[in-house]
Symmetry: C2
Subunit: 211 residues, 2 copies
DNA sequence: GTTGAACTAAGGGTATTCACTGAGTTTTTT
DNA sequence: AAAAAACTCAGTGAATACCCTTAGTTCAAC
C-alpha cells in the first residue's frame, strides 16, 4: 500500500522540490498540494492523505492554529511541520498541538522518508538539528546567568514551603525552627536567585527546576 | 557497515529477547550486554557501541543519572531508554539529559529497527504510546480542575505585573490606576485561581500558561 | 584545631499583602 | 434599553513579608 502525502506551502518551489524528491519512491505518492490554509482545509474535505507536510509560515493562518484545527477534524492525519527556522518555542507548541514531526526545509530525501515512516508508525520525528537546539537550550539554562545556583538543604526546605503557599509561620512549624530563621533562609534564597520577592523566588525556582 | 548495539538490562530475558530479535538483521549486531550500571560503565571503556539500549530501572544506579554520565563520557553514543512504564516525567528528564529515544519493552522488531535508524540519524525517537500519553497529559491540563480559567484583560495586566515582581504600588503606576484597584484585581485573580497568595498565583499562572 | 559553610535566631523597623465590605462607573452582551 | 460583567476606588485593620544587622552553634573539611 502506498502512503498518500499532501503538502501545504505557499512557495511553489518547495512543493515541486518535495514532489520530485518523492517521485520515484514507490511507497509514497503525493496526492495533493496546497498553497495556503484555506486551500488545504477545502482540499482535505474531499480527499485525506495519510501525512500532511505543513509549512509553518502560511500567508493566511499560522501553522500552529491550522494544525490544531486539522487534527481536530482528522484525528488520524499525521502532520509534519515544515519550516526554515529552528524556532524552539514553535516546536514546543506544535508538539503540544499533536503534530508528529518537525522538519527543516533543507531536509534531504533520506531524512524525509525516514520522517514519513516514523510518523506513520505513530511516533514523533524531530530533526537532528532541531533536537540539538532543543538540547542546547535546555543545557544552557543551568548556566543561564553564568552562575549555577546551589541551594542548601535547609534553603530548599524553605523554598518548598514557599511554593506550597505557606506563610513564614507555617513553614517554621513544619520545619520545627523559628519564624526568624525561616525569614533568614528566604532572604538568602532571594539573594542567591536574584529575586525581589517570593514571587520571584518561585518564578526562578520553576524555571531552573529547583523544586 | 553494521551498526554496533549494546544492551543494558538486569533482566536476562530482556537481553536475550532483544538479541534474538536482532539476530538475523544484517545491518545490526549486538556487541555487548550488561546487567547493571557498573557493568556497563566498565564494558564501555573497552568497546563503544553506536547505540546503547538502556533500562531505566537498574539495580545500582537509576537510568537518568547513568545516561547523564555516559553521554558526558561518550558524546557520540546514542542512547535509547527502555522501560516497562510510561512515566512521563521520566521521559522528560531523559530527553533533557540528551537521550535519543524512548521505548517500551513490549516493542516489536520493526519498531526497534525503526528506532535504531532514527536515533542513528541523530533524531529523536519517541514511541507512539508514550507520545500519546504525553499529549494526553498536555491536553488534559487546560481542563485540569474541570473549570477553565478565564482572566479579564485587566486581571491579566495585573498578573503580568505580579510576575514581574512589582509591588502593588508599582503596578498601579504602570497601569495608571489606584493601588486599591490593583489589590481588588489581585484578590479576584487569587479567588479565580484558587491561590492563597501571590506565590500561588504565579505557580498556577505558569502551570496553566496564563502569562 | 582552625576555617568556613550552614543552620540557627533575634531585634526592630518599614513596606506590602491579605481580607472584607461596599459602591459608583464603564463596557459588553442580550 | 436592560442586564451582566468588568473596571474602578475606598476604608480599615490584621497579618505577613521584606530589610538589615548581629551572633551563637554545629558540622565537615583541611
Amino acid at each position: 500500500m502506498t502512503t498518500k502525502i499532501a503538502i501545504t506551502d505557499d512557495h511553489v518551489m518547495v512543493l515541486k522540490g518535495i514532489e520530485s524528491m518523492l517521485e520515484n519512491t514507490s511507497e509514497v505518492s503525493v496526492i495533493a498540494t496546497y498553497v495556503n490554509a484555506k486551500d488545504a482545509l477545502e482540499g482535505l474535505k474531499r480527499q485525506q492523505p495519510d501525512v500532511l507536510l505543513l509549512d509553518i509560515n502560511l500567508p493566511d493562518i499560522n501553522g500552529i492554529d491550522l494544525s490544531k484545527q486539522l487534527l481536530k477534524l482528522y484525528p488520524d492525519l499525521k502532520i509534519i511541520a515544515l519550516t526554515n527556522f529552528e524556532d524552539i518555542s514553535f516546536v514546543k507548541r506544535m508538539l503540544k498541538n499533536g503534530v508528529h514531526g518537525y522538519l527543516l526545509k533543507n531536509t534531504d530525501k533520506i531524512e524525509l522518508i525516514q520522517a514519513l515512516k516514523t510518523v506513520l508508525s505513530g511516533s514523533l520525528y524531530i530533526q537532528k538539528s532541531i533536537n540539538d537546539k532543543l538540547l542546547n537550550q535546555l543545557s544552557s539554562k543551568p548556566a543561564g546567568n553564568g552562575l549555577e545556583i546551589k541551594l542548601t538543604r535547609r534553603e530548599h526546605d524553605v523554598l518548598v514551603g514557599i511554593s506550597e503557599e505557606l506563610t513564614t509561620q507555617q513553614i517554621s512549624e513544619k520545619l520545627f525552627i523559628s519564624p526568624k530563621t525561616v525569614e533568614t533562609h528566604r532572604m538568602n534564597i532571594m539573594s542567591k536567585l536574584g529575586a525581589k520577592n517570593s514571587v520571584g523566588i518561585i518564578k526562578i525556582a520553576i524555571e531552573k527546576e529547583l523544586l
